[in-house]
Symmetry: C2
Subunit: 334 residues, 2 copies
DNA sequence: TTGAAAGCGCTAACAT
DNA sequence: ATGTTAGCGCTTTCAA
């Protein structure tokens, strides 16, 4: 292993100068710099991250805590985090909590002692458990608000509300919303937003769930909805769920969008670009990840923790159509 | 920040003893140990990972390089890696390459200098680029073989072959295989395996692709297959692809499995447990991740690099059925 | 069983 | 602009 001392010796300078030449090139004379760089290059020198971290107190690592990698909602956020981090040469220390409160807390604790900052994605832990870390290091949440902790809020609640309003505008009077997992802070926000939007639009709302973000769950729900004949439009909170609904409704002989309109309050692009042509949200997940890092690195989080809101955009597709007549009874195929 | 010295002082012992009490409890007297542990607990002591890494030369970090997180195939592997790592309290340093050779190599380089080992998942880089790291630190590949580098091979090629054989056994004489991305080592292995199996079973094989692991890609392929009337069974290499095919075939009025049998050479559980009831593979992805770590930590990789083969299992579902008469013409609905 | 002391590789005052 | 020096927090000989 080649150390800074080796490079310094080879270049005929002191360790300090070698260090400067490599880390802060503008602090040394041009020719010295060249010599050091050449030596370092020739010897294949690489900084020892641990030694560096020990002296500077910065590890160059950001801990990212995610409930699951299997959910296409979280993956892009992590990718965004990486993108933002790479600008400073930092890396992601990843931990998957599998959605368990205890492992989330435990993993966070493990990460906390080796990173410069912590990103909690959709944490399920209580506020106190998250705030506990803020005294040790910078913390930011995504898709969750914790008092006094900076957070990125992806406005899917606003997005579902837009969907409901859109459906109402198409004449739908009875809408079903299939909501997310119990205990999810964001899921509850979305539920409220949907209810509020439904109330304002004067549509009759059925909230189903909590339901897992899985295809089979969508299939199961599809059966209930097929039976619920008054409903003319369904909104699903997750992309997998939507797919299950799509498949299930067809199986039940319910046509989309002729018999029933279908929309997702999630972003479908990661699994399918534009087709099937479904009314859904554009959710800038990667941007959310980037925003999280920006927040994390923000100099002095004012006493009132900063919040970054990420807007979503309604993309109207062919899966939603004008409601026909009075409910679905008139149009059902069988 | 409370350091070992603080704990030592509080417990009335030397740093060395405190260190031992915490790291190798059996090297100190019971009562001393108690005292140190109590002090450490009371003061909320935590090891400084960087300092530890600097002295021991072990960072407790394993670099994991993955082409994408959006693909449900990779996520469970990473989860498996984490599980295996957690036994020793190690962590994952994650990097997503987005499938680009250059960023894969660059990211690997960055990780290499801060980790104890490197896991390449389905790397796209040339052999030489991967082998280059083996001189620096332990390396293992998943879903790819590199001479002299230990690797975990998930036997999806064997799995697709099983599927083809199964279909042949059901009387299918014309099968389409929709294969994976160009430049993917594994995709080529699967292609070969399918061709071989088809030859052995005497079935007529159409290889379509390369195709992206996306729903829209499946929809597009479905159109071609619907037109290709002789084909009575389709095998898709990815779960998203399969979903697209499923949806697309129905749109085209092709029934599954009456008109056409459908199977996936991927594992569908992460997106949907058992339904839709599709013939697919059980692919122990998490085990593959665990195996990778086992390989990585194996004491002395013999000169001939170790290979671990992960078997897949064919799960026959309702999406495949006996071929009826002579091709699909007789059974098409319209 | 315990302690003293020497470093691991690097950076950051402080001098020069 | 460059060098000297003193650690960062920990583990690990080596002695006692």
């Amino acid at each position: 292993m080649v150390t800074l001392a080796d490079v310094a010796r080879a270049a005929g300078v002191s360790k300090a100068t070698a260090s400067r030449a490599l880390s802060r090139p503008d602090m040394v004379a041009a020719d010295t710099r060249e010599r050091v760089l050449a030596a370092a290059g020739a010897m294949g020198f690489e900084f020892n991250a641990s030694a560096r971290a020990l002296t500077t107190g910065r590890t160059g690592l950001i801990g990212v805590l995610v409930p699951s990698l299997a959910n296409p909602y979280f993956a892009p956020i992590v990718t965004g985090v990486q993108r933002a981090l790479s600008e400073h040469g930092d890396n992601i220390l990843l931990a998957v909590s599998e959605g368990s409160q205890s492992s989330e807390h435990e993993l966070a604790g493990k990460l906390a002692s080796r990173v410069d900052g912590l990103v909690f994605i959709a944490p399920v832990s209580p506020d106190s458990a998250i705030r506990e870390f803020t005294s040790k290091l910078p913390v930011v949440t995504v898709d969750r608000t914790v008092p006094a902790v900076p957070g990125v809020l992806i406005d899917t609640p606003g997005g579902v509300a837009d969907i409901v309003t859109h459906l109402a505008g198409l004449g739908h009077r009875a809408i079903a919303y299939v909501g997310g997992p119990e205990g999810s802070w964001m899921a509850e926000r979305r539920n409220s937003a949907v209810e509020e939007a439904a109330r304002r639009s004067g549509v009759d709302l059925t909230v189903l769930g909590p339901v897992a973000p899985r295809i089979d769950a969508g299939l199961a729900v599809a059966e209930r909805i097929a039976a619920e004949r008054s409903v003319t439009a369904v909104v699903a909170y997750s992309s997998y769920l939507l797919l299950g609904l799509h498949l299930g409704l067809r199986d039940a002989g319910v046509r989309v969008p002729e018999d029933i309109s279908l929309a997702a309050s999630d972003d479908l692009t990661s699994i399918s670009t534009e087709r099937p042509d479904t009314t859904a949200l554009r959710v800038p997940l990667e941007e959310a990840g980037i925003a999280a890092i920006r927040l994390l690195q923000e100099p002095n989080p004012p006493k009132r923790a900063r919040r970054l809101r990420i807007a979503t955009e309604l993309i109207v597709g062919a899966s939603t159509a004008r409601a026909t007549g009075s409910g679905r009874l008139s149009t059902r195929r069988r």
